[in-house]
């Protein structure tokens, strides 16, 4: 706390103290230092790639615009009516493209904002001091304020969050009383998707079809999870999510995944004897489940505490029983 001599106890006249309880306490130097997630590395390759992307898209857009302009002016020369109609259509398309672009960017931003909240939450999760959690939790609350079904849970959280609780306890309490609702729904979604993918791969007659089914269903699942946690998923956000989730899952080790799925599930069940396609179904299902759980971690505005992390093992048990 304060440097030097500790302040000796003293008593005050209660009438002098302003009403209203305040729990904010001077920030403390003892906050555990947690290394924040390193910013994405700005490698030279990345810069070149950006340059290429920017130049390429700019060039194509300009080309397209120029062509359209030429086309429309040519039409105006033929007839004003024709030209007017076509330029109207062009304007509509331009507005649509702009709107789409804006919403894509907004949903990407939301995803990033949730990521930042999560990083801040991870720092607070083990904190023993007071006063920093409220601002963060207010931001998280803002994401869900419009949802009628969460109102009761948020109110309950405020009823329980006494000013004696430190930041870590507050964050954990919020996660346990509010976010669990979302976790449950997302978990159900992942389970359903994994089951579908498993069953459909096992039944589908063509290998090519498998791939399409898995891709389509996985993307739908990711979008669903993002929507539950408050990201309005556009194509860009979904792609970004898929890419990050895949990276996470790969980082966690595919080898483990294969042994997990193959040994524990196939070895113990009759499925392997029945058909290899069924086996593939199981593997695909587990993969989808894994992706889904990964996406949950990436969409949740607060990190999962160690013991609330949804486990693949549990999900697998529920799936293949």
């Amino acid at each position: 706390m304060s440097a030097g001599r500790p302040v000796a106890p003293f008593e005050l006249d209660p009438r002098q103290v302003e009403p209203g309880r305040i729990a904010v306490v001077e920030p403390d130097a003892t906050l555990p230092v947690i290394v924040p997630e390193p910013p994405p590395g700005r490698s030279p390759r990345r810069t070149w790639r950006r340059l290429l992307l920017l130049g390429g898209t700019g060039f194509l857009a300009a080309l397209l615009g120029l062509e359209a302009y030429d086309f429309v002016t040519a039409l105006f020369e033929r007839s004003d009516l024709l030209g007017g109609a076509f330029s109207l259509l062009l304007a509509l398309a331009a507005v649509g493209a702009l709107g789409l672009g804006v919403s894509e960017i907004a949903s990407l931003r939301r995803l990033r904002a949730l990521g930042e909240l999560r990083t801040a939450g991870a720092q607070l999760l083990t904190s023993q001091v007071h006063g920093r959690a409220d601002a963060l939790l207010d931001e998280v609350e803002d994401v869900y304020r419009d949802r009628v079904e969460m109102r009761a849970a948020i109110e309950r959280f405020h009823g329980h969050a006494s000013d004696a609780l430190n930041d870590g306890e507050r964050v954990r309490l919020f996660a346990a009383s509010v976010l669990t609702l979302l976790d449950k729904r997302a978990y159900g979604l992942v389970k359903a998707a994994a089951r579908d993918i498993g069953a459909l791969t096992a039944l589908s007659p063509l290998g090519v079809l498998d791939g399409l089914i898995v891709l389509g269903r996985t993307l739908a699942m990711l979008r669903g999870i993002a929507r539950i946690y408050g990201v309005r998923p556009g194509t860009a956000a979904t792609t970004a999510l898929l890419r990050r989730t895949l990276r996470n899952v790969v980082a966690a080790g595919v080898g483990e995944l294969v042994s997990d799925a193959a040994v524990e599930t196939l070895g113990a069940s009759l499925l392997s004897f029945l058909s290899t396609r069924a086996g593939q179904g199981v593997v695909n299902g587990v993969l989808a489940a894994r992706l889904g759980l990964g996406a949950m971690q990436l969409c949740r505005p607060l990190p999962f505490a160690q013991d609330e992390l949804p486990s693949l093992k549990q999900l697998r048990k529920e799936l293949f029983e």
Partner: protein, 488 residues
């Protein structure tokens, strides 16, 4: 744990009462039921341990109240997940200690002018049946609704101090007690008793009058240790809190200086005063203490140790060290370690150990962290023993009944967190900056006169239904550590 189990086994066999009760069909059935419940994980015996004034009774009352209501416990996963269906108090079974006076204790806290409960003076037991929905599809398929019987006993904290006697002979105990009585802060309190002892010849023929007089002076000395000096190490515990043994001949002994062992044994001839005292000590140890230990203290599954850290700091260095030493000694009498199924049936060990600094509401919340760290240092020996046995002890700063608010004030340009509440014994509300708690054991210059002056607050009225803010601090987290895994 080195209680002589062979001996306690013998006394088990020798107790004809035990055999008789075994023979009766009702008792036999009850024992079988007990075993079945234990085997099926349906019973959890919680040791609520704490020295005098540690807050055991309030803790038991508060957890029972909140569990009965099933509210205000957001950190208890079963409540948060809405799996706790309800709780019910069970009446004591024949042969149990009297029921814990829960209704009275709660009524006293919920009264218009609430008061802390009087010091506990007798043994009582509480049995709480918790019904809950099992977690996870698989468990639910086995049995959807499950029951956990929570068994807690409440007892005077003084009696805990008897447990170390089980491992001491009269000679050892006398030597240790007399040595302690010669040192400050005990020496001045022991003056009367020691002058009387000086004139006493342990080898002289026993005179019951003399023994009674010595015991009375010794009891007076113990009472003064407790009341005037605030010391905790007062043995035997029944002297200051006799319970149903008040006035009994069992309590008429005291430590005596060792007699020259060359002459006919350490305590003189068979009929000598020393021999009489030694015999009474042994009877006290073997009858009172051992049966108390065997019936109530050897069969715990989980333990919470409540420590009044603030009180210990308040009373100064000698008392603080005394509390530290007493806790270490007392906790040596418990068995720690994870138990297998068989061990749980016949020789249970404590598998979850939680140390709690009680009365955390008496300081501002930003001091809780330090309070917890200081508690960790205070009980490091006992915690180390538990770790050695493979148990990871947990620590928490809690308040079973929160009696203060937090307010922030400016003081010489510094912002300080203060607490507001009604001081105990003074019928007025006040705002207090209670001071800061060192995260380490206090150093020499920390024991300055004005550093630790924590005041006791009167309880705030317990709102039975629909409280608008939480009425405890971290009680639910303590419960989650103690019972959370058994409510899954």
């Amino acid at each position: 744990m080195a209680i002589r189990s062979a001996r306690s086994g013998l006394s088990d066999l020798a107790g004809l009462g035990g055999l008789a009760s075994l023979a009766s069909p009702a008792a036999l059935q009850r024992r079988a039921q007990d075993l079945a419940n234990l085997a099926l994980d349906r019973t959890l015996r919680l040791a609520v341990t704490g020295l005098r004034g540690g807050g055991k009774t309030v803790f038991i009352t508060a957890i029972t109240h909140h569990l009965l209501l099933g509210r205000e416990l957001p950190f208890l996963a079963a409540v948060q997940e809405e799996r706790l269906l309800g709780a019910k108090l069970s009446p004591p079974r024949p042969g149990d200690p009297p029921a814990f006076p829960f209704a009275e204790a709660r009524a006293a806290l919920a009264a218009a002018a609430p008061s802390w409960p009087a010091p506990t003076d007798q043994l009582s037991a509480l049995r709480l049946r918790l019904r809950f929905v099992a977690k996870g599809a698989l468990r639910r398929r086995l049995a959807e609704h499950r029951t956990l019987n929570l068994e807690i006993i409440d007892y005077p904290g003084e009696w805990l101090l008897d447990l170390p006697l089980l491992e001491q002979s009269y000679g050892e105990w006398s030597a240790q007690t007399l040595a302690a009585a010669e040192r400050p802060p005990r020496a001045p309190l022991a003056a009367d008793w020691r002058t009387f002892l000086a004139e006493l010849d342990p080898a002289a023929p026993a005179d019951p009058q003399q023994a009674a007089r010595a015991a009375a002076l010794y009891t007076r000395y113990l009472e003064r240790c407790q009341a005037d000096a605030g010391l905790s190490q007062v043995q035997p515990g029944r002297f200051t809190m006799p319970g149903d043994l008040a006035g009994s001949e069992l309590l008429q002994f005291c430590p005596l200086p060792a007699h020259d062992p060359a002459r006919s044994g350490p305590w003189g001839a068979r009929e000598s005063l020393g021999a009489l005292m030694a015999a009474r000590y042994e009877r006290y140890r073997d009858v009172v203490v051992r049966s108390f230990y065997r019936d109530h203290f050897s069969r715990f599954d989980r333990q919470i140790v409540l420590v009044d850290v603030l009180g210990a700091l308040n009373r100064g260095r000698a008392c603080f060290d005394d509390v530290e030493a007493t806790l270490a000694t007392v906790l040596r009498s418990f068995r720690y370690g994870s138990s297998s199924l068989l061990a749980r049936l016949f020789r249970p060990r404590i598998e979850v150990l939680l140390f709690a600094a009680s009365k955390a509401d008496h300081v501002a919340p930003n001091q809780h962290h330090n309070l917890r760290l200081l508690l960790e240092r205070m009980v490091s020996e006992a915690a180390g023993n538990a770790r050695f046995e493979g148990i990871k002890p947990a620590f928490v700063a809690l308040a079973a009944l929160r009696s203060t608010d937090v307010v922030r004030t400016q003081h010489h340009g510094q912002t300080l967190s203060c607490v507001r509440g009604v001081l105990k014994g003074e019928n007025r509300e006040t705002v207090l900056f209670p001071g800061e708690i060192p995260p380490e054991l206090p150093a020499d210059d920390d024991w300055r006169a004005d550093r630790f002056r924590f005041r006791d607050f009167a309880p705030r009225r317990l709102v039975l239904q629909g409280a608008d803010k939480p009425q405890h601090i971290r009680l639910d987290q303590a419960l989650e550590v103690l019972l959370g895994d058994r409510l899954r």
